[in-house]
Every structure is written in C-alpha cells, then in structure tokens.
Amino acid sequence: MAKHTLIAYVEDVPGVLNRISSLFRRRNFNIDSLTVGRTEQAGVSRLTVVVEATDAGARIVEANLYKLVNVLRVDDLTHKSALMRELGLVKVKVTPQTRAQVLQLVEVFRARVVDVDEETLVIEVTGTPEKIGKFELVLRPYGIVEIVRTGAVAMARGSALLSSAPPLVRTDTSADHGNDDSGLSMSV
C-alpha cells in the first residue's frame, strides 16, 4: 500500500466535512491527512486527502467520494505530475551551545525562524510532507517542544484538466485488490 493524494472540490455547505470524514470512517479508509480551504470559485471548497491505499483501493475511495451529493469532482494526483506542499511549525529547545547548529539546519532546509526566546526557537518550514518529516527527525536530538503540521495540499502541474468522473474502472484482477487484508475491505 502506498500513500494516495486525492483532491476534491466540494460544495461549501454545512456538514460537508462531516460527510467526508464519516465516509472514510464508515468505509474503513485510513486518512493520513486532510486539508480544506476556499477556492477561486465562491461556494466551492477544495480538499486534499492523503490516504493509505492500493491503487484499486484508491479508485474505490474516489468512486465513494463521487457518491456524496455535495462532492463536485475528485482527482487522484498520485500518478500525475503534481506539486505537494505542507507547512510545519516546530518549537525546538536551544542552548547557547546548540543554537548555531540548529540555525544551520534551518538554513539547509530553507526554513525560517519566526520566534525566538532564551530557550526555544519556533521554526517555520514548508515543503513536501517527506521534507517536513526529515526536518523533524534532524531536530529531534535537540528536543522538540511542540510541532504542528498543516497536512498536505496538492496541485497538478501544467494545464491538464482535472478528471470529473469516477474511474470507469476496468481493472485487472491483480493481487493489489486484496479482499480482506488491503486495509480497505469494506464492511457492507
């Protein structure tokens, strides 16, 4: 199983997030992260969901999202050329001895310091979720006090149009559609 990044345009009506999270829980899909925000169109929000799934499983997630009345369109960017970004704030302990090392790491990761006091630094870092994960890893020895991540947002590169229908799946019978152990087996 791999991480799949799906984006969805949804009507901005009360309860729509609830419907989406309820769907994921109900169908036993594992959400890695979920972000929502406004779009260029009034009344339409855009969602980025990162979900652990096989390719076949991701197609089922996509089809299920389409089934929600308030969902306008869905696209799986996993196998497309796409940009993915996340923002993280990390509050890390520093001492006079370690401060310089931490600042060097900030440099390397093209992050920036946004708050300073005697004992801590707050660092803002953006990039792919992997990059932020790495940043966290290298800062850990210094003592992370707090960390917050926004979850990934994604956008396809270029001018290709988003898909606007669920996959009309003509799938192979390959093993990646596990019946029980895909983590996506749905209890219907």
Binding site: A56, N70, V169, N179
Partner: protein, 615 residues
C-alpha cells in the same frame, strides 16, 4: 403565494404525487400535523411505532416503485426510524423521511427532544437535510424525492425545525427545482467495454447470469430473458432478485448463495463467465471470496461505480443503468445454446433435487416448507405479494414459494431486519390494494412489530399474516446447532397465544398444527374480510438446507442428512427443464424418522465451530 412551512411540506408532497404517508405525531412536528387537515387528498396512516412507519414506507416503495414517505417528530421519534432507514439504505429502497426538529434557536442546547438526526442518519441515508428556514423547505423536499428515486435509489431524510414549519414563506414550486451540481445518478461505460463484454459472452462455454435487484429497479426482466434465451445462458437470482425472472422460466435455476440451490452454487464455481446484472456480490452470495468462481471471467453491470471491484474483482465493468447497458450489449451477442453446459447443470440438479415435496407422506408433523409450498399452491393463481421477515422462514419462503413476477416478494436482504415484515406488508397493501398481501414471519420477528396489527385494524386493511411458529429464534438456533454444539443460549422463545392476540386486536386468529389443515386455513384466511393472523405451529428444530457456512467456500454446502425426508429445496412436479434430458430425477423418499432433524451422528459432515461467525 405565502404559506407556512408546514403547508409547504404538504404542497410539495402533493406535487410529488404522494397519496399516503406513514407517521406518528409529536411536539416538533405538530405544526405539520396541524396543517395536514387542509390536505385531505393525502391519506395519513397512524402507525404504532416510528420504525413501523419507515418499514411501511419501504414496503410501499418496493411494491409500487414509487417513493414511500414516513413522518416523525424530533428526538425519540426520529431515532426510532433509524432501523427502517438503514434497512432501506441496504436494499436501495426509495423513501423520504420527514422529521420535526427543535426550533432553530434551540439547536445545540440539548433542548427537549433534541437529537442531531442528520448526524445520526448521515451514514445510513443516501443524503439528508437540516432545514431551518421555511423558504428552503420546498427545494429540500424536491431534491429529497429526486435523490431518493434516481440512480441507485435510497432513503433521504429531511429534518425541519419547528420554527421553519411555523413561519411563512413564498411557495415557489418551479423555483425550487433541484440544484445538485455534484449529484450524478448514472454513468455510461465507454463503448469499448461493450465490445469486450460481448466478446466474453460470445466466447464463453459455461456462462451464467447472476440476476439481482437492479433488474427490478430498472424493469428489465424482458431484456434479461431475451439475452439469456438468445445466448442460451442459465440464470440464477439473488434473494432480492427473486421474482425478476419467473420461477417457471426454464432458464431460471433458482437462488444462489448461502441458502441457495446446491446445483446453482456448483454451477457458479464451474462457470467460465459470470454476468452479474444489478447485483452486488453480497457475502451471503459469494461465501469465501478467495475461492469464489475462480474459473470464471466476470462482467459486472451496476449503476453504482463503488460496487465495482468492491468484493469481487471483475474483468469488464459496465457502469450504467441496466436498461441502457442491455440495449447496447444484446445486439452484439451471438446466438448460442451451450447444450453441454446445460446438460452438466441438469445432471447436478437432478442429483440435488432429491425429493418432491408432494410425495412426502404426512407424518403428522407440520413443516414450514409444507406450509410455504402449500401456500404457494393455494395462492399462485391470485395476484399475491409475499412479504417475509428474517430468519429460517424467510429462507424457506425463498426456496419453496415460486415467484413469477417482479415485486411479488418483499424482504429485508442486506440488513436482515427482524420486525420488517408486518409493517412492510401494510405499506405494500397501501401501494397495491387490489393484490393479496401475505406476511410470512417468524414467531420472534413477529413479536418485534406486532403492535402494527392495530394499524392494520384501524385502517381496515387486509394483510394475511402467516406466523411460522417454531418456538425458537430458529435461524440462530440453527447456527447454534451447527457451530456451537447445540448450546441453545437465548434462542428458545415463548410468545403470546397468537390467536388470542389477534382477537385482542379485533382481528381474526387461526391456528394450524397439521398439514391436512393448511389448505382450509389458507382458504378461511382468504375468505375473511380483514386482517387474519395464522399461528402455524411447525416443527421446532428443523433447519434450512443447503447451507454454506458464513465465509466457507461456496460449494462446501451443508446438506440435509440423507435419512431425513425433508426435500432439499425448491424442486417439485411443476419444475420443468428446457431439454428432455433435463427432467429432475425424482427419488422416492423414505417415510419415517422425521421428528429429529439432524441426528448427532451426522456431525462429521459439518465444519468445526467457527470462532466468530458472522450473522
């Protein structure tokens, strides 16, 4: 035209063509009830429990194909609907539930009888609405009806605050047309897929059609029969597909799955092509997915893309309405007979259809199978709808009642809701007042919703209730017998004197203990004016055969022990096969030893107890 929200609700129902609603009043829906008096064209049926209202709406929908409507108050009224809504959801039944909600200002304050009903029903509705303004009611109801009946049908709930019912707004029906940019009721498969499907069909040696409820929903019985006839393809149905293909059709092999015909399940495992038409490969249908139909390529036609590859990976998916799909596939399909395939199926069928129920000598015991098969014989010439509950009697009905028409069997398949039958039958009777409506129900399930007898009585309608009384929660008892070493924990069950119970409701009650009396009992029931309750006192510890244990391989069926003379299933004199060689082999049955169902010595043929059986 300015109307109150409550009046708008009734105006909308009228415009949607609703002639009957099933409901129960209470504080938060009172304005709507008050306005009802101005709309005499819509008949309101006062139920005895809101669960009953939802099942009635469901039964009405399944019998008529129209949208059923149920109404309840906030809080407990609405939560009582949950079981009925979930039942309708699982079986794709179009119902609209209207619930009252506390005043919009009080929402979120734990006000008296406040429940977050849209939250509660979110996963068990196709869609739902919380309406807080009178001006939004019309659109919500129009959209609710549209969503409920289009595409893959399902339940929609509209929760309307009390103040929205009381305040006034302009009623503009035209202006309230559905605006659903994200709703896609149906899709079309790419043309290339049709050619691939036709290729598979044309090259198959052992094809089999799996006919499901989607055929009923799309009204394509004739089209499916035409395709099967042209290409010589045998058909098997799901439980919810019963009736979409006439039982008397030589192409119809009978039901598949857990309690399906042995030869059907064997045919599925031997087939080289399964053509699934509007069925969703439920786990009661497939058994163990890892060994399911491994020799077969699969074509899946379904209107709902989420069903494709959900349980069974398929080779060709034709997503769309069956009517459209069949119209495009059929012309590309070549004529064929598949006589070798038929011969092999018929050989297995002859072997499996061991005994003829008619040839059974009557030992004095009354078996549910007798009751149901006789009921079929006695009612087959009449236009009859049978509504079944959930349990052994439901399976025996599926096996021994021969349904010829779509919508002549109504049953809760996906959720398996005990207590469904009586209220659903009342709903069906309102949809089809000219048809006979029979309820086939267990003594357990009947006691769950028997209060609705009062509804039938108050409405003066006639439903014929056949209680298959085995003094057990029989289906569970059967599992305990097979998989839990006969430890009958909490399954022996007493009940009231059902005859007296009927009489207490001012209805007719009859009791029948012997096979000889079945005919006269049914005749008396048909002749009686109002609702009749029959207590058929049947063998207590009989079991449904064949049975594929949950999760077992489809062809690993538990069969009825040989020394037991009950027939295996569904075969009888009228069952004719297409070719001369196809006549079922009739063996005369041994006559005695019927008291006990499963001698313990037969244990070896049964699988070891499973740790976590699914029910």
């Amino acid at each position: 035209m300015k109307l109150t929200g409550a009046e708008i609700i009734w105006e909308c129902l009228q415009k949607e063509g609703v002639d009957v609603v099933f409901g129960y009043p209470g504080g938060a829906i009172l304005p709507t009830y008050d306005a009802m008096t101005k709309y005499p064209k819509i008949h309101h049926v006062l139920v005895r429990h809101e669960q009953g209202a939802t099942h009635m709406a469901d039964g009405y929908a399944r019998a008529s194909g129209k949208v059923g409507v149920a109404i309840a108050t906030s809080g407990p009224g609405a939560t009582n609907m949950v079981t009925g809504i979930a039942t309708a959801m699982m079986d794709s039944s179009p119902i609209v539930c209207i619930t009252g909600q506390v005043g919009s200002k009080a929402i979120g304050t734990d006000a008296f009888q406040e429940t977050d009903v849209t939250g509660v029903t979110l996963p068990i509705t196709k869609h739902n609405y919380l309406v807080t303004k009178p001006g939004e009611i019309a659109r919500a109801i129009r959209e609710a009806f549209y969503i409920a009946k289009s595409g893959r049908p399902g339940p929609v709930l509209v929760d309307i605050t009390k103040d929205a019912q009381q305040m006034t707004a302009e009623f503009d029906w035209e202006g309230a047309a559905p605006r659903l940019p994200g709703y896609r009721p149906s899709y079309h498969a790419p043309m290339s897929e049709y050619a691939r499907a036709a290729d598979l069909i044309n090259s198959a040696k052992r094809p089999l059609i799996l006919a499901g409820q989607g055929i009923l929903k799309s009204g394509t019985t004739a089209e499916v029969l035409a395709l099967a006839k042209k290409a010589g393809i045998p058909i098997t149905t799901t439980l919810l597909g019963i009736g979409v293909i006439p039982a008397s059709s030589p192409l119809n092999l009978g039901m598949m799955g857990m309690h399906g015909e042995a030869w059907v399940n064997q045919a599925i495992q031997q087939a080289d092509l399964l053509i699934a038409l509007g069925m969703r490969f439920d786990d009661r249908v497939t058994g163990n997915l890892k060994t399911y139909a491994l020799n077969a390529k699969k074509i899946h036609v379904d209107i709902d893309p989420t069903e494709i590859n959900k349980n069974v990976p398929v080779d060709v998916a034709l997503i769309g309405d069956l009517r459209e799909v069949l119209a495009l596939v059929e012309p590309q399909v070549k004529k064929a007979t598949h006589s070798d395939w038929w011969t092999s199926i018929n050989a297995q069928r002859g072997d499996a259809a061991v005994r003829d129920i008619q040839a059974l000598p009557d030992s004095g015991h009354l078996y549910a199978a007798h009751v149901i098969n006789d009921l079929w014989r006695l009612t087959q010439k009449r236009d009859t709808i049978v509504v079944t509950d959930v349990g052994q009697h439901q399976m025996w009905e599926a096996q021994y009642y021969r349904h010829e028409k779509p919508r002549s069997l109504i049953t809760s398949g996906g959720l398996g809701t005990m207590g469904f039958a009586l209220p659903a039958a009342i709903g069906a009777k309102f949809a089809c007042p000219d048809k006979d409506v029979w309820v086939v129900v267990g003594d357990g399930g009947f006691q769950m919703t028997s209060c609705e007898l009062a509804t039938a009585e108050q409405e003066g309608i006639k439903v014929n209730v056949a209680i298959i009384n085995n003094s057990f929660l029989g289906m569970v008892r059967q599992w305990q017998e097979f998989f839990y070493d006969k430890r009958y924990a909490a399954t022996p069950m007493t009940g009231p004197d059902f005859v007296k119970l009927a009489e207490a409701y001012r209805l007719k009650g009859l009791r029948c203990n012997t096979r000889a009396d079945v005919k006269s009992t049914v005749e008396k029931t048909l002749a009686a004016k109002g609702t009749v309750v029959i207590d058929f006192v049947v063998e207590k510890e009989d079991s449904v055969f064949p049975m594929v244990p949950a999760g077992a391989d489809l062809d690993k069926m538990i069969r009825r022990p040989k020394q037991d003379v009950m027939l295996e299933s569904g075969s009888d004199k009228d069952w004719e096969m297409p070719s001369a060689s196809a006549a079922p082999v009739k063996k005369s049955a041994p006559a005695r030893g019927r008291g006990k169902t499963l001698p313990t010595t037969k244990k070896a043929t049964r699988p070891a107890p499973r740790k976590s059986p699914r029910r």
